[in-house]
């Protein structure tokens, strides 16, 4: 079970002949993911590291029966790759690529309104169901199979959180990095809904950061709908306003998007908030104890 991906997922890598495309196709296969091939226009017919390469995604889907794609094409072409996946009938696209222009993503997001495809990212570490399948760039070894669902806007901060959970014997059902951009596919709420319905997930850890109001909206939803304990951490408590903190979405503007305000809202909605990024496992344990 778990959510989004499992050992049965058949995965294509768009941009497989690029340096990072190949590296991660290979690392995902090493983890046990069923990578059935890749797409790079102009390189169709080749085989690279045992992966068959196709010119178009449609050919790849036809030949391999893939329903999941991992996108690692350069930013100027990434929006096209997502649209190609949606039009080709892919069920889940995980877009790792960072730096896609806003104008391109506005169109992608609008197109996805009328599409059945789920998009994770862009600008994200991807998705992993520990012990079964990894579609992303996260280090597999820090994960452990278990019952905590993890959803995060961040990359390496998610690794930090996961490692703390694993060290505390809190294994994960699935970890989803939804991405740090202002426009992304699945939102916190979309992923929380999936965790809520997943029998393998017993509790959720949510990692947010400054900018926008996605965490607040998620908190309101959790208060009304979530049947499982939720703990959270929000990064950027000490971030100065008006500065873009690395992620395109991480900026406090016009007094909005502050970490302190987000934390207050989360606590009001019954979420256990880790006061420090060193206390993630503790907060998760506390949330689990409170509910039981």
């Amino acid at each position: 079970m778990a959510i989004l991906i499992n050992s049965a997922s058949r995965i294509i890598v768009q941009g497989i002949t690029g340096k990072s495309g190949l590296l991660h196709a290979w690392q995902c296969r090493d983890y046990g993911s069923n990578i059935v091939g890749g797409v790079t226009p102009g390189k169709g017919g080749a085989t690279i590291e045992g992966f068959p390469v196709f010119d178009t995604l449609n050919e790849a889907i036809y030949a391999t029966g893939a329903a999941v794609t991992m996108i690692l094409v350069p930013a100027p072409l990434a929006a096209e790759a997502i649209l190609e996946a949606a039009e080709g009938g892919i069920e889940l696209a995980v877009c790792i690529t960072e730096g896609i222009p806003i104008r391109d993503m506005v169109v992608v997001k609008r197109y996805l309104q009328d599409s059945k495809m789920k998009l994770v990212g862009p600008n994200c570490p991807g998705v992993i169901t520990p012990g079964e399948c990894k579609v992303g760039i996260m280090p597999g070894a820090i994960h452990k199979k278990g019952n905590i669902g993890v959803v995060s806007r961040s990359g390496t901060l998610t690794y930090e959180a996961v490692k703390q959970l694993t060290d505390a014997q809190l294994g994960q059902s699935t970890c989803v990095g939804i991405g740090g951009d202002p426009i992304i596919g699945l939102s916190f709420i979309d992923v929380l809904k999936l965790f809520n319905e997943d029998p393998e997930t017993k509790a959720v850890f949510m990692i947010g950061e400054i900018g926008g109001d996605a965490e607040e909206t998620a908190a309101e939803w959790i208060k009304e709908n979530m049947r499982k304990p939720v703990a959270a951490f929000i990064a950027g408590l000490t971030a100065p306003p008006g500065k873009r903190m690395g992620h395109a979405g991480a900026i406090i503007s016009g007094g909005k998007g502050r970490a302190a305000d987000k934390i207050v809202t989360l606590i009001e909605c019954g979420i256990t908030v880790a006061k420090s990024p060193t206390k993630i496992a503790e907060a998760m344990k506390q949330a689990l104890n409170m509910k039981s």
Partner: protein
């Protein structure tokens, strides 16, 4: 990416949006010439990468060229501190000299990305001249929004609806329709993350004129606009931030004394939070990115070392796609032969090739301490920096 008001107005002009007659000047002499050309009464506007200029004395009405040269001299000599610049203020390297417009009424108009709907959103108000946040607080009923469907764009009926809500009548309505449609065209063709005209004036002569304009370009789209690079005014940016940008590193200078090098934006923010929690003050935010090379790590280290406030350095790297041995080699490259490196350095690394990375550091002969987790690392560097300060004090 920010640009100056005068540059934003040049873009508006190119899209048939009216702006006051004006010219960018860099000296007192040029100011005098411009004032004589536009008539005795003019306005001088300091060009800086921040708002709040009016209240801070950065916008001056002048009467005649003697008055103008005095005002221009004052503006060009001093740094301007506004509510948006921080305490140090920003250097004023150029002014915009403009004719004075007789104004009937002022409006607010902007297009920006709305994250909730993932669409560009047009915001308009008949309450121009003040911040949109202020308008939202004082009279939210006066704010009109249009969420633009990218498949159909801004049609004339959309724009007409907004013009009517703004209370415009007669021929001006159609002028406003054209203006709004052109504004959206700018957003798309120039890849703006936001564009704001505030105030948009209805002049006594019956024309819609953009009195002030702010444009932000989408940093992710700069590859489509190589010409933007020439528009950057480096006097408005921190020199270290410029250098970091060239290396494709996200660097932001802060006021503390602990230099930080972290991979990933979220972890970098969390690292600053932990340092503060342990009583330390970070000197910077620095995200070396996921796939940084040995050279990039070394450059990042050199940037941190250029900040004279830095009294100690904390490296926090969670190797996912980054290998710990590469990080270690980068640190060694950067610190070898640099005198500043008697500074305490604490390295927390995790992830692939951790043992190799630690070995490299311990064999390097450098005074680098390694720790195994974030909390220990933060505690140690704070302790080292404070101890060092005590030693100096004694």
């Amino acid at each position: 990416m920010n640009i100056h008001e005068y540059q934003a107005k040049e873009i508006l002009k190119a899209y048939d949006i009216l702006v006051p007659n004006g010219r960018m000047v860099k000296t007192v002499r040029q100011t005098q010439e411009a004032v004589e050309e536009f008539g005795r009464l003019c306005v001088l506007k300091a060009q800086i990468y921040a708002g709040g200029r009016g209240k801070a004395g950065g916008v001056k009405k002048v009467n005649g060229s003697v008055h103008a040269s005095q005002a221009a001299g004052d503006l060009l000599k001093n740094k301007l501190v506004t509510v948006q610049t921080g305490n140090n203020g920003l250097a004023v390297k150029c002014l915009l000299v403009e004719e004075i417009i007789e104004i009937e009424k002022e409006f607010y108009l902007s297009i920006t990305l709305d994250r909730r709907t993932s669409r560009y959103c047009l915001i308009a108000s008949a309450q121009g001249g003040m911040d949109i946040e202020e308008i939202a607080r004082v009279s939210p009923e006066n704010i009109h929004t249009l969420y633009i469907d990218p498949f159909i764009g801004v049609r004339s009926y959309h724009a007409r609806g907004i013009a009517i809500l703004l209370g415009l009548k007669g021929k001006i309505v159609e002028d406003c329709v054209k203006l709004i449609q052109n504004l959206y065209k700018i957003v798309l063709e120039k890849d703006c993350s936001s564009i704001e005209i505030n105030p948009l004036a209805l002049s006594k002569a019956g024309k819609l004129i953009a009195m002030d304009c702010k444009i932000n370009f989408d940093d992710n789209a700069l590859f489509r606009h190589p010409e933007y690079e020439k528009m950057i005014d480096v006097s408005q940016l921190d020199p270290m931030e410029i250098q970091a940008k060239k290396l494709d590193l996200a660097y932001i200078k802060l006021n503390g004394n602990i230099g930080c090098m972290v991979n990933g934006a979220g972890l970098a923010m969390a690292t600053l939070d932990v340092l503060k929690e342990y009583g330390g003050e970070p000197a910077n935010f620095l995200d070396v990115g996921g796939g940084a090379s040995r050279e990039k790590v070394a450059e990042a280290f050199r940037i941190i070392l250029k900040d004279r406030n830095v009294k100690g350095i904390f490296v926090n790297i969670f190797g996912g796609i980054m290998r710990c041995d590469i990080i270690a080699q980068g640190i060694i490259d950067a610190t070898t032969g640099i005198a500043a490196c008697n500074l305490p350095i604490v390295v927390r690394m995790d992830g692939s090739r951790l043992v190799e990375g630690k070995n490299l550091l311990s064999q390097s002969g450098l005074k680098i301490e390694t720790v195994d987790n974030l909390g220990d690392g933060a505690a140690k560097i704070v302790q080292r920096v404070i101890k060092k300060r005590r030693v100096i004090a004694n």
